[in-house]
C-alpha cells in the first residue's frame, strides 16, 4: 500500500468549510464571501477563479469531475518568481536532457495530491502546445516534462505550472546534487531476477536426484547444466555478499557476511568438484535457493518512503537564487555566488539566504522553522538578520556580512558530524553474532577435519565442507530483514517512519532522551490564543470576529475561531497591510487588529486600545503521561533555543537541572557529544533546522513533523506530529520487535546445531541439505512476519493511523 502523507489541517478545514456554507469550487476551502462567482460557481479567491477560467478555456474541466474540489488553494497568494530560471548556469543544472529542439526536465511539485492532479498534469499539452509530453510519478510527486525549446523556456514551463497551482519547488540543493540515477536501484532487480531464474531451473533439474530416478548418463549432463546456471548466481547475484565479506576481512571486521560467503563458496566449489569428478550432483539447488532467499530478504528490508527524505540539509530548504542590486540594477543570482557586501533584496514571503545587516525596510521575520518560535520577530534598519528566516511584510534590503555557507545557522553543517561518512550497511547485532559464530564454526570444521583425517581422507574433506555448508547462517541473516523489515512497514502505517532496520537496533539501546521545546513538545501550529484587556461587549466581539474572519493571516484566523460563537456581520472598508494588521468597520465601529510591540496582537476599537490577543504554546497532548511513563526507563532532558520564559510551565515535568535554555544550534550538537562522551546513548527528539546538528550527532535522531510533505532535517526517523501521544506504545513495540530477532536467532541456532550433528559425522547428503536449508529459512521468515504481526495486534491496534485527504486512497 502506498504511503500517502498529506496535510491534516487542510482536510479539517475543508470539512469545516463544507458545514459552514459556500466553498470554493476549485479548492474546496471556505469562501470569505460570495463575491467571486463564475458560471454559477463560487471561488474563494481570484487565483482559484483564474485557474478555473484557464482550464475552462482549454476544455480541461474534466479536472473537476475526477474528484470533489481537487484544486490547491491559491489564496495564500505567493506567486513564485522564476526569473532566475533564465540564467543559463542554473537552467543547465536542472535540465535532464537537451538538444537543439527539445529539453526534458523533472520538477518536484509538492501540490500533487490526487488523481485529478495526475490527469491535469499529463494533459498539460492542451494548455500549451509547446509541452510535448508530461508524465507524473504520483508517489514521488514529480512531473517529467518534455518541451519544445522554440516556444517554451524552462522559466515558462515553471510559470505555466505555477499558474495552474502546481508551483515547482526548486531548492538550492538541486544545483549541487547529481540527479538521482535510477540504474543503481535497478541492478538489484537484475540480481534478484537472475537468482530466481537459476533457482527455479536448478530445482527442476535436481528433481531426478531427489526422487532417485537419476540415470548415469543424464546425471552428469544435468550436473553440468546446473553448474552453468549456478555460476551467475555466485558471481553476479551473490556478489554483494562476497564483496562485503572481502572488504570486512581486509579491514579486520568479521561480519555475518563472512560465514555466508564462506558457505556460498564452499557450496559452489564442492559441488563443482563432485560434478566434474563424477562423484555426485552437489548442492547447487541449496546454493541458488540461499542466494535467492537472501536477496528477497534484502528487497523486503529496503523501505523507501517516497516523499520522505532522511538526508536533507539546509540546502533543500533554501532557494536557488536571490535578487541582488548591483549598480542600481536588480538581477537574480545563484545563491552560491553571493558574496559578502552584496545588497540582497528580500520581498514578502522570501527567505533570508545569508546573514546580513538590514539597511532598508521593516523586518517582520518568521524564524519558526529555524528556532521553532511561532511569532515573527520585528527588526529595524541596522539590525543583524540571520539566515533562514522568512520575511512577512515589506521588501527589505540587506547587506550581507557572511556568505551562505558561513552563516550563523548554515555553518552548523561544516561540523565534522556532517562530513564524516557513517558506516552503513549490515546489522550491528548480526555482525556481532557473526563474529563469534564464524570463530566457532571454523573451530568445529577444523576439529572435524583432523578427527577424520587419519581414518579416511575422503570422508574428512566431505565432513569439513559439509560443516561449512550447513553452518552458513542464512536463516540468521534473514531474521533481521524480515522481522524488523515488517516492523518498519507496520510502524509506517501508524505514522512513524524509520530510516532502516539499524535504527531499530539503536533505539532499543537508548538510555537518554533529549527533547527540543518549541515545535517538539509544544504544538507550534495550534498555539492557543487568549484575550487580555478590557472586557468586550457582545457587539464588539462580533465585530472583531467579522473583521478577523476576512484575513488569511494565521493569527487573524485564530482570533476568528476564538470568537466563533458570534454571528458574522458585514464589514466595510476592510484593509489588510501585510506585517502590520487588519482593519475594518462594522456597524459604525472601527476595529483594528495589529501587531503589538509587547507581543501578540493589539486590538483597537474606535481608536481606543482595548487589549491584546496573546498566543500561547500548548504542550502536545499526552506529554505528561509520556514523561511520567518514561521516567523509570530513561534520563530525560530539555534543550531549547528559546529563553526560559516558559520554564515555569515545564517545572512540573522536568527538574531544574534537566532544562537547558538559550542553546544555539552548535550548543545543542556539543551537548549531545558531551553526553555521549559520558557513555550515554542519546535519542534526540526535535523538529527544526536548529536541531539538525543534535539530530545527526545523537544515536537516534527523531523528527516530529506537522506536515510530512514539508522539509524535515536529516534524521533517523520521522514521526507524524499527530501520533506523538502514541510514542510510548510505538517504543514498546520496537523493543519487542528486537526481542523477536533474538528469538529467531535462537531458532536458527537450533537448526544449525541439528544440521551440524549430521555434518560432523560426514553423512550429510544433498537431500538433507536441500531440505534443511529452505526449511530453516522459511521458518525464520514466517516467525519474523508472524511475530511482528502478533505484536502489532497487541501494541498497535489501539493507535489510529494518521488520516489523509488523498482522493486516491480514500478513507
Amino acid at each position: 500500500m502506498p504511503i500517502v502523507l498529506t496535510n491534516q489541517g487542510a482536510v479539517q478545514e475543508k470539512k469545516a468549510a463544507a458545514k459552514a456554507g459556500t466553498t470554493c469550487y476549485h479548492c474546496g476551502e471556505v469562501c470569505p464571501d460570495e463575491s467571486i462567482l463564475l458560471d454559477d460557481k463560487y471561488f474563494c479567491c481570484e487565483g482559484c477563479r483564474m485557474v478555473y477560467e484557464v482550464l475552462n478555456a482549454n476544455d480541461l474541466t474534466d479536472f473537476y469531475r475526477l474528484g470533489p474540489n481537487p484544486g490547491t488553494s491559491l489564496r495564500a497568494g505567493r506567486r513564485e518568481q522564476y526569473a532566475w530560471l533564465d540564467d543559463e548556469g542554473i537552467a543547465s543544472r536542472l535540465v535532464d536532457f537537451e538538444n537543439d529542439k527539445i529539453a526534458k526536465v523533472t520538477f518536484y511539485l509538492p501540490n500533487i495530491h490526487c488523481a485529478s492532479c495526475i490527469w491535469l498534469l499529463e494533459n498539460l499539452y492542451k494548455l500549451d502546445s509547446g509541452v510535448m509530453a508530461s508524465k507524473v510519478n504520483f508517489l514521488k510527486k514529480e512531473a517529467y516534462i518534455t518541451y519544445d525549446k522554440a516556444s517554451l523556456s524552462l522559466r515558462k514551463v515553471a510559470e505555466l505550472l505555477a499558474i495552474i497551482g502546481y508551483a515547482p519547488a526548486i531548492h538550492f540543493g538541486s544545483l549541487e546534487e547529481p540527479r538521482q540515477q535510477a540504474p543503481v536501484d535497478r541492478r538489484f532487480y537484475y540480481q534478484l531476477g537472475v537468482a530466481g531464474f537459476a533457482f527455479g531451473n536448478i530445482m527442476l533439474l535436481s528433481f531426478p536426484e531427489y526422487l532417485g530416478l537419476a540415470e548415469a548418463g543424464y546425471q552428469t549432463w544435468f550436473g553440468y547444466l546446473n553448474l552453468l546456471l549456478a555460476l551467475p548466481v555466485v558471481v553476479y547475484s551473490g556478489r554483494g555478499y562476497l564483496q562485503s565479506a572481502w572488504y570486512g576481512l581486509r579491514n579486520g571486521v568479521l561480519g555475518i557476511d563472512l560465514p555466508i560467503s564462506l558457505g556460498m563458496l564452499t557450496l559452489f566449489l564442492r559441488s563443482a568438484y563432485e560434478i566434474i569428478a563424477g562423484a555426485g550432483s552437489g548442492y547447487l539447488d541449496s546454493l541458488a535457493g540461499l542466494v535467492f532467499f537472501l536477496l528477497i530478504g534484502k528487497w523486503f528490508q529496503q523501505r523507501t518512503y517516497h516523499r520522505l527524505s532522511f538526508e536533507r540539509d539546509y540546502k533543500s530548504y533554501f532557494p536557488v537564487a536571490a535578487t541582488i542590486r548591483k549598480n542600481g540594477e536588480e538581477k537574480s543570482i545563484a545563491l552560491n555566488k553571493l558574496k559578502v557586501g552584496d545588497t540582497v533584496i528580500i520581498k514578502n514571503q522570501e527567505l533570508i539566504p545569508a546573514d546580513g545587516l538590514l539597511i532598508r525596510g521593516t523586518g517582520n521575520i518568521d524564524y519558526s522553522f529555524v528556532t521553532g518560535e511561532a511569532e515573527p520577530v520585528a527588526k529595524r534598519a541596522g539590525d543583524q538578520l540571520f539566515a533562514g528566516g522568512r520575511q512577512m511584510g515589506d521588501t527589505l534590503e540587506l547587506q550581507l556580512t557572511r556568505e551562505v555557507s558561513q552563516s550563523y545557522l548554515t555553518q552548523l553543517w561544516n561540523d565534522e558530524v556532517f562530513t564524516k561518512e557513517t558506516a552503513a550497511g549490515a546489522s550491528e547485532f548480526a555482525n556481532m553474532v557473526g563474529k563469534y559464530f564464524t570463530g566457532v564454526v571454523l573451530v568445529i570444521a577444523l576439529v572435524t577435519l583432523f578427527y577424520w583425517l587419519p581414518k579416511d581422507m575422503g570422508l574428512a574433506i566431505n565432513a569439513f565442507t559439509a560443516v561449512l555448508i550447513i553452518a552458513c547462517p542464512c536463516a540468521a541473516a534473514l531474521s533481521v530483514p524480515f522481522t524488523l523489515g515488517n516492523s518498519l512497514t507496520l510502524l509506517a502505517g501508524k505514522g512513524m517512519y524509520i530510516k532502516n532496520t539499524q535504527v531499530i537496533e539503536n533505539l532499543v539501546k537508548i538510555d537518554t532522551i533529549v527533547f527540543d521545546k518549541t515545535g517538539t513538545i509544544t504544538d507550534g501550529h495550534s498555539a492557543r490564543i487568549s484575550y487580555e484587556g478590557d472586557p468586550l461587549s457582545e457587539a464588539e466581539e462580533a465585530a472583531v470576529r467579522s473583521v478577523a474572519y476576512h484575513s488569511s493571516h494565521p493569527v487573524s484566523q485564530k482570533i476568528a475561531l476564538l470568537l466563533s460563537d458570534h454571528p458574522l456581520t458585514e464589514v466595510t472598508g476592510f484593509a489588510e497591510v501585510t506585517g502590520t494588521g487588519v482593519s475594518g468597520e462594522v456597524g459604525g465601529m472601527k476595529v483594528a487588529i495589529g501587531k503589538s510591540e509587547k507581543g501578540g496582537a493589539q486590538l483597537t476599537v474606535n481608536g481606543r486600545e482595548r487589549g491584546r490577543f496573546l498566543l500561547r504554546n500548548r504542550f502536545r497532548a499526552g506529554l505528561e503521561e509520556l514523561i511520567a511513563g518514561w521516567r523509570q526507563h530513561f534520563s530525560m532532558l530539555i534543550l531549547s533555543g528559546d529563553d526560559d520564559r516558559e520554564k515555569s510551565k515545564l517545572q512540573g515535568l522536568f527538574a531544574e537541572a534537566e532544562m537547558h535554555f538559550r542553546q544555539s544550534p552548535k550548543d545543542k550538537l556539543d551537548f549531545i557529544k558531551q553526553r555521549q562522551a559520558e557513555g550515554r546513548r542519546v535519542m534526540m527528539i526535535g523538529d527544526g533546522l536548529n536541531d539538525a546538528g543534535a539530530l545527526k550527532q545523537s544515536n537516534v535522531g527523531l523528527v516530529i513533523s506537522e506536515n510530512t510533505n514539508n522539509f524535515t532535517p536529516a534524521c533517523d526517523a520521522i514521526l507524524d506530529a499527530r501520533q506523538f501521544t502514541y510514542l510510548p506504545q510505538l517504543m514498546t513495540f520496537i523493543k519487542w520487535s528486537m526481542r523477536m530477532v533474538y528469538g529467531a536467532y535462537l531458532l536458527a541456532l537450533g537448526y544449525n546445531i541439528a544440521g551440524m550433528s549430521f555434518a560432523v559425522q560426514g553423512v550429510l547428503s544433498p537431500v538433507v541439505a536441500a531440505i534443511l536449508m529452505p526449511l530453516s529459512s522459511l521458518t525464520i521468515v514466517l516467525f519474523g512476519i508472524g511475530s511482528t504481526r502478533m505484536l502489532a495486534g497487541r501494541y498497535l491496534t489501539k493507535i489510529t493511523p494518521p488520516r489523509d485527504d488523498s482522493h486516491l486512497t480514500g478513507e
Partner: protein, 51 residues
C-alpha cells in the same frame, strides 16, 4: 530418450526468454513507478458529456 536433451534445452531457452523479458521490463522503467499507472489507466480518453 534422446528427446529429453531436446526438451530440456527447449525449456531452458523459454525460461531464458522470460528472464530477458523481465530484464527488459526493469530496464524500460516499469518498476520505477508502481503506483501512478494504476491510476492513469482509469482516465477516459474521450471527454464524456457534461451534465
Amino acid at each position: 530418450m534422446k528427446i529429453i536433451f531436446f526438451l530440456i534445452i527447449l525449456s531452458l531457452l523459454i525460461a531464458l526468454g522470460f528472464l530477458a523479458a523481465f530484464i527488459w521490463a526493469v530496464r524500460s522503467g516499469q518498476y520505477d513507478d508502481d503506483y501512478t499507472p494504476s491510476v492513469r489507466i482509469l482516465f477516459d480518453d474521450k471527454k464524456t458529456d457534461s451534465e
